[in-house]
Symmetry: D2
Subunit: 388 residues, 4 copies
């Protein structure tokens, strides 16, 4: 893809001092020169917001104290000067108000996941996006990996035959102890229902796992049976969940997500079993995709090679063996959004593969997933219908 | 261990022509010169039994047409000449009658798994073994691996802290198609309820997974929630099962077993997560045990090294890097049984680690596991108590 | 590290249309907002140079047709406006003239490897850098990986004891066929002595291997014995080299580099054996460092963890399990250079670890390595002294 | 293969108490019921020999004090009762006298490697074997692995195209310290020139590496350039060697063998690069063979599958995923010898693949390799002709 040397203008909400994901979003936006960061309201208090903006070299007049101020003042700038898009990288509870206001103010949005706190908010936001005609990307960043796109291609292409079973897992250990009481900001808000929502591990990482399955396989969840646990005493949200899934096609699934799995770092992996073959992908070593056909040798497909599908090839920047990783995958979501914004403005030619990124509808389905799993975890009924 | 050059005498039931596991049992029994095969009733018809015995060079007068004949005639031979133990390697439905008769005839028994068809049969057999004072080993062979013994040692030793979660899985693909209609004997009986029992994949391999967890962790199952599936149309038993587990200690578990997981061969693996560290072991590359402590580098413990526990060291025969595998682990069950037999006869000194092998009680618990999972699979109740 | 929101200004020579490494340098420079690209002479003809600059959105008045023009015109801009540094990403033969002129014009330089064509040119350039007091970084990018810094730390710290043996290898297959005759620009200049220098594979990738050993171990080469081969008929430079090494300490080494090793992508790996332990690192999966002490379990150290050395921790941007890769390592060279430039200008505090990057002296030693290996390859004398 | 239930009779020389490899040979001989051990002269003194025989339950009248006694007395027993073959598992210096006498006494021989101390002895023994018409197997056991046979098949079949380069390595650490002074019998004789021969690591493990290359590729060494080192002060033989190789075909090679490579256990691995593809195999995880074609995904071929060549399929005993390892590969050498013996005696049908095992000629070439490498190590001449 090429945007013809033009960089889109980005305003960021959240992601200031003490934040983890803000810097990732900024580097992802900068990569390939896709966006330039021209404005921000980078923290929840005006003082900290402005100090954070100064750290980053934001021009003083666009280093805003509040997101409301940013939306209002940027709206009044002439097109071509004002920001094209708002990037929302706050704790979860701020996604809904900021996203809704940004969309209604006519901006495109790139928003972190999970999208919002409830499926009502999600439906509301989907409607607002539809009405405004905005480009709205949700940073389910793991689906930005080239080999995830290749996996999706192979499933769609029938290389696996009909899908029978999916195993997806996301194991971490960073909340194995009560980190939220040790001054760790990331742990604090993620274990606080007011800021994180109804779920802990299920929302923070289980929703990534759900999105990965949906992206690769297109399977739709019919019903779930969940065992949701809080292992660390006194913690206010779940830190572990094991879920059985029935898909509408008759396929079966297992999804587990944990933040107390000692020794695991960011262990997201998926196995997809079809009638003819299976696929395995592991996020911690993301440049490889294992394809195992019945009765033939296992194959290892590797990023950057000519034998991959177009979408996988476009999602890569450097040759085979020169590993790409988390940042590039994240940047692919930003790049997809940028192309969609340019296409919306008539400046780039629309192309399905280039515009490939998770949308507000993916975000809304993710919220339903979280709600359904939490409901199932609390229920003595074996199966809970999806979105019930 | 040393048995002082004395080889015990073994009679085998089943394991003739067309069988898979018979040759494994024989090599396992021969290894280290532990047993010699002196008698057999190797197949279900006298003709095939005798032809199979001839293949193996059995002496004509101990190459029996039926197991009844073998037990009767061997019983009448003088001690020191007659067989010490019976090895039962038939399809599952024959385990109960042969094992019971062998025990009652005063022989020690090494029996394949799953032990019997029902928990009633199991209880009956446990009682018979107790009454006779027999040595009775069940070939849950995977627990014979040195690194499984090391894993058990580390859990017992508290190296992981209290166990929070266990993930055990056993994935195969050999029944991904309807092999039982293609003349494959192994597939035929394993998918036939009359010979295999109430379960397919859950019994054949799920029970190995159960035994592996119990052996390593000592955790006791409180209740299960199972999703049991037959994917191949027309198949009469399950070929896939996904199970959530609650242990009595409060630990949680996920167990899955499948014989339709395209591309997987004999993919038994376990992960044990404690408060302080976790362990991972994979049967297909069995000489390694991964230990992952919180906040410190992952460690790979390797078979044959001086830093391992005594039980792991005794269960190995050759130096590090000279890989041992399936056969040696299987042989460790036979060696354990042989030492117990010698100890019972006053010929070897009893030693807890050397006598370490799965017993009839392990076999009985395995039958309960199968029954409970099958019951849960058919139930709309979320949790089914173990052994209910 | 923080540069206080200030971005340094970069002018690039080479790296326009058809180039591979130019985009890598740009992304590496942009990452973390370290540099901004404000000027360029991006190709060897003025037309192509300007077209390339337009692709990237360079301002028209700083999108130069030639590097001479860029140096001249930028020199005349006031400090604070003119470029701080020149990034040289041309084919090898242009490194010397551009670098020398840039240094003499008072600019700092980031230059690709191998540094120049001959040790005479290298000595000349070292002297010029010394005279000018420039910051001069050579993009031996593999030494920018955090786990390479950790390896260096552990060797220096004595964790391996005295080093006995080093095995370093760099295997690729992209020149397994005569790609240079198929219109591939990258292959064309790399196999052309006029543009690539005296060596092919030995210069292009063997020199990376040399630098990796020197960086991690500090060992100095005493003499080499090389077997240098051109496998593809008609190729004008070597495409494979196997080298035995004697280090001045008495340690022994094996270094091999190949561009015809079918099936290998960018397979750079190193093993360092000491009296007490060894280290293994593999570029294609760069977030892990294997440490194998005598008589104790192997350890896997992982990027981003608190137990790593300061230099490894500073060289990382995101948490464990969120893989970083080639780009971030490359960016670490740019970041090191930027901090040195700021320190030189009094704007940042000097800190040995932050300023850690390959220098012009490393580049000069690399040129000596290439010359010595090529000389040895052509000689019937067994050992050739380093730099002889 | 089937030997029709008949077990061949084996007499063993060496392998008594304190030995390592004796028990491996016995288990390898027993496996599948191929041989039974009926006689032995198991140690270098009559007392220890007889005590060792008693440990193993040898009949008293065939538990010999010396190998001379065994050969003499067994020769006089009637055919069908006397031993069919002699297994020689002594330290190296005894291979020649025992093997020669055994062959001349009309016995078949299975002999450990390296064959003898000098190429003169080797030539002499080859002549004796030819004259006697004996079956003579050398336990280069690593070539017994099924996936090594598959590798050989693929090279012969042209799947890799013409071979360009081979990298073979054998890294261990058990002699990283001066173990020979700590009462370790294995270390004592292996570092003693009188018993081990002219080489240490080069003979003990380098010769395995040489055999592996020859077996898989059929390449013939033209000349070598070796760097041979003794790292541990006071050791009397080499403990590390790095060798460059020229093959007669024009292919190039690197072979390295070390017993001081801290942290390595029995790390034998080979990479074969052809014009079209490459192969990789690693002894410590021997059930897998990696095949990497140019421009297509890497493949992992796995032991026991229907897609393998006949020789690989015959060399396996159990299904895929049930790992086989060192012992089974070793047993394949014994099985090959047994079938050759039966074929020689008219009792089995000759079949090239079944009779596949390393012969006395392989052993003789191995001795030449050792001599040439040691000569090169001591020479200042760059290339030494093979066998010069």
């Amino acid at each position: 893809m090429s945007s013809g040397g033009k960089r889109l203008k980005l305003g960021m909400v959240g992601g200031g001092r003490d934040a983890f994901i803000g810097a990732v979003h900024r580097n992802a936006a900068w990569l390939d020169g896709t966006f330039e960061l021209v404005a921000g309201a980078l923290s929840s208090t005006p003082e900290k917001a402005r100090a954070s903006g100064k750290d980053l070299g934001l021009p003083e007049n666009r280093n805003y104290g509040t997101w409301q101020e940013m939306l209002e003042r940027e709206s009044k700038l002439p097109p071509g000067e004002r920001i094209d898009a708002v990037s929302i990288v706050t704790p979860n509870h701020m996604h809904y108000p900021v996203a809704k206001a940004a969309v209604e103010a006519g901006f495109h949005v790139i928003c972190d996941k999970p999208l919002v706190h409830s499926s009502q908010e999600a439906a509301d936001l989907v409607a607002a996006v539809k009405k405004a005609g905005s480009v709205f990307a949700v940073t389910y960043n793991y689906t930005g990996y080239p080999m995830v796109k290749q996996a999706r291609h192979m499933v769609r292409n029938g290389d696996l035959g009909a899908i029978r079973k999916v195993i997806v897992e996301y194991n971490q250990d960073w909340l194995a102890t009560k980190l939220e009481e040790q001054g760790a900001k990331q742990a604090e808000w993620r274990t606080d229902p007011a800021r994180s929502g109804v779920a802990g591990a299920i929302g923070d990482i289980g929703s990534h796992a759900e999105n990965l399955v949906a992206t690769i396989t297109g399977l739709e969840i019919a019903e779930v049976c969940a065992d949701v646990t809080t292992f660390v005493p006194g913690r206010r949200l779940d830190d572990d969940g094991n879920v059985l899934l029935h898909y509408t096609s008759g396929a079966k699934g297992i999804l587990f997500a944990s933040q107390i799995s000692a020794g695991e770092e960011n262990d997201l992996r998926i196995r997809v079993y079809g009638e003819k073959a299976s696929l395995t992908w592991h996020q911690e070593n993301p440049n490889y995709l294992h394809f195992k056909p019945l009765g033939a040798p296992e194959q290892i497909l590797k990023r950057g090679n000519g034998y991959l599908c177009e979408a996988a090839k476009r999602a890569t920047r450097i040759p085979p063996g020169h590993p790409e990783a988390f940042l590039e995958a994240f940047a692919n979501v930003y790049r997809g959004a940028a192309l969609a914004i340019l296409a919306a403005g008539g400046q780039a030619q629309r192309d399905a593969d280039d515009l490939d990124f998770p949308t507000v509808e993916d975000g809304a389905r993710g919220v339903q997933f979280i709600e359904t799993v939490i409901k199932s975890g609390a229920s003595s009924q074996k199966w809970i219908s999806f979105g019930a």
